[in-house]
């Protein structure tokens, strides 16, 4: 029986800080994918993901809507990615040579928007996207795990697809909670 984000966060704030690992496990992959698309470098994305998760932990009490943890986390990651970019720029200015530009500085792709939009999906759709594409469970495995009919899984995913497609096509500008 998986606890919801809200339940895990409440336990963390009650002193069961070890439970934060469940949120790490749940979101480490979409977070990494987002940061990899922002930074274009695996090791930097790992480092930034770690930093984002630690910041999320330390700021947990400031999260107004625990059910929005995912989008809040991506917002934190956006700031961390920005800091990494700034740091890289400073490095370039200091070095005065393009030869020392870290790979990360040139690797950003617009694909990170997909991860932002996933984080903004309704809970039921977002959960299935994470299970199917980050945990790599089949639709049947998801249905078994959640004890729902297979058709419910595929239809919910279809609805998530509709939302994601629309956002990607319109270049949705809704800001994530964590973005100042």
């Amino acid at each position: 029986m998986e606890k919801t984000d809200k339940e895990v966060i409440e336990r963390c704030l009650s002193g069961y800080t070890d439970d934060f690992r469940f949120l790490v496990r749940r979101y480490e992959k979409p977070l990494f994918a987002y940061l990899f698309c922002r930074l274009g470098n695996r090791s930097l994305a790992q480092e930034a993901a770690q930093e984002s998760l630690v910041r999320a932990f330390t700021g947990l009490s400031k999260l107004n809507k625990p059910e929005s943890f995912h989008s809040w986390l991506i917002g934190i990651a956006a700031r961390v990615a920005l800091e990494f970019h700034r740091s890289a720029r400073r490095h370039v200015e200091k070095a005065e040579t393009i030869a020392e530009v870290p790979v990360s500085n040139t690797g950003e792709t617009q694909d990170y928007l997909l991860d932002e939009y996933i984080a903004m999906l309704p809970e039921s759709q977002r959960q299935l996207i994470l299970f199917r594409y980050y945990e790599e469970l089949s639709c049947q495995q998801i249905a078994d795990r959640l004890q729902v009919p297979l058709g419910t899984v595929t239809k919910t995913l279809s609805r998530a697809y509709v939302i994601l497609r629309e956002k990607l096509q319109s270049g949705c500008t809704t800001r994530l909670e964590g973005l100042a």
Partner: protein, 449 residues
């Protein structure tokens, strides 16, 4: 089929889960609807991007590093915790932290009648869920058990070939938790304000802040968080398809109890070099005993299925829920004369040490020990009295070429093979682990002595 229905079936079509009749209807609609055809194309493109996400992130694992930072944000603390760690400590630490996603348990060898029902897993889940609910809101807990390990070694060090050592945890939950973990040669205490470690006879460390878990006690804290641990175990059973059995029997005091036995398969082949190296790569048998009346977990055991046979490696024999814990438990009395671990400082000639290779650092360390030059040796390692006794007058016979290994990924250490002759004439060959202190950039000994 109309456009609305068609949109609902897009993913089912892409995943090939439609029944033949619906699939035929779907195709028929597509043949006549340009808009839905375009939707299908863009959905297929989106699916491709999403599937790439799984491949891109398959090897991502941040739980260990993140929890490590959360629990041990101070780099000094990180270094002290591994200071005395040996090569195997690292391995075994990770056995627990990676694999102990749930509470321990294993096979009761003298099980009474195992009741084989077609729905054994459901029965096991019901018992475990009842236990998790019953133990969801504890204010305190006391665990006592035994682990095959060395009395003073790392708390997460499991050595199947060793004898059992008693291990105990007291914990008060709440906004400011307190805890204590005891082994005969090592004690860690967090009194709500500071976190301290004492390794008998003469080594201590004090972290001036509370810590949710420190000094490699995470796995025991995981167990103490019983309801979550049981939830985890149930999730693992489902995810990995582990087999479970349930037995009903009477305990020695006549109370009815349920015994859930889980065969946890790692999925690693016997010839895989990782097999039984980490807890999560080991095949284990876990047994949980629950009081039927209260639902409480009353004992837990883990057996390791090794090539040489099945062996009990850990058991919890006492689980006290909501005990009143004497305040003295959270006070650690450390004798005078111990060596306190200190943060590494930048030296006046720091560059000399920072520019060393790991091999040069290993040589400098052993040679300083050989001269009993404890000031110099102390630049690489906190030298306790017992360590001075052990390494004083040592003669360095040879050093090999430094290397990294899978362990380096975990610990960040480099290993240098060495051969030394102790003052009693004994010759020792092993690998010293060295890590660079991020603040001073100097190498320090991280284990392998």
């Amino acid at each position: 089929m109309n456009c609305i229905e068609c949109k609902e079936y897009l993913v089912a079509h892409l995943e090939d889960t439609l029944d033949p009749d619906t699939a035929a209807d779907f195709r028929l609609h597509l043949a006549t609807c340009e808009e839905c055809r375009l939707l299908l194309e863009s959905s297929a493109a989106l699916q491709k991007r999403l599937l790439q996400r799984g491949r891109m992130t398959a090897d991502v694992s941040q739980v260990g590093p993140v929890m490590d930072r959360i629990n041990r944000p101070n780099i000094v603390e990180q270094s002290i915790e591994t200071e005395r760690g040996s090569f195997m400590n690292k391995l075994l630490k990770w056995r627990w932290t990676l694999g102990m996603g749930a509470i321990a348990s294993a096979a009761v060898l003298i099980l009474v009648a195992i009741i084989a029902t077609p729905n054994m897993q459901v029965a096991a889940e019901e018992i475990m869920a009842k236990g998790a609910n019953a133990m969801a809101k504890l204010s305190s807990i006391h665990l006592r058990g035994q682990l095959r390990t060395l009395p003073a070694d790392n708390f997460s060090y499991i050595a199947p070939e060793m004898d059992f050592v008693t291990i105990e945890l007291w914990k008060e939950f709440g906004p400011v938790p307190k805890w204590r973990v005891d082994k005969p040669g090592r004690i860690a205490v967090m009194d709500g304000q500071t976190t301290m470690l004492y390794i008998k006879p003469d080594y201590a460390f004090k972290l001036p802040k509370p810590s949710a878990s420190a000094f490699d006690t995470q796995w025991l804290h995981d167990i103490a968080n019983i309801n979550q641990a049981l939830d985890d175990e149930m999730a693992s059973i489902k995810k990995h398809g582990w087999t479970t059995t349930v037995a009903h029997e009477a305990s020695s005091d006549g109370k009815a109890k349920s015994v859930v036995t889980i065969e946890a398969k790692s999925g690693y082949n016997n010839d895989d070099y990782l097999k039984n190296i980490f807890f999560c790569t080991a095949d284990t048998q876990r047994v949980y005993e629950f009081d039927d009346q209260t639902g409480f977990l009353t004992s837990a055991r883990i057996f390791l299925h090794a090539a040489t046979g099945t062996k009990l490696i850990f058991e919890l024999t006492q689980i006290d829920c909501n005990p009143k814990i004497a305040s003295d438990i959270f006070k650690l009395q450390i004798p005078e004369g111990v060596t306190w671990k200190e943060e590494m400082q930048v030296l006046p000639d720091n560059e000399k040490y920072a520019s060393m290779t790991s091999e040069q650092a290993a040589r400098a360390f052993f040679e300083a020990c050989g001269r009993d030059d404890w000031k110099e040796a102390g630049k690489f390692c906190t030298m306790t009295g017992s360590l001075k006794d052990y390494l004083g007058g040592v003669k360095l016979i040879s050093l090999g070429t430094s290397f990294t290994s899978m362990l380096s990924i975990i610990s960040g250490a480099q290993f240098v093979p060495y051969e030394i002759k102790m003052k009693d004439g004994q010759v020792k060959k092993f690998n010293i682990a060295l890590k660079r202190d991020p603040h001073t950039k100097r190498w320090f000994v991280d284990g392998g002595l």
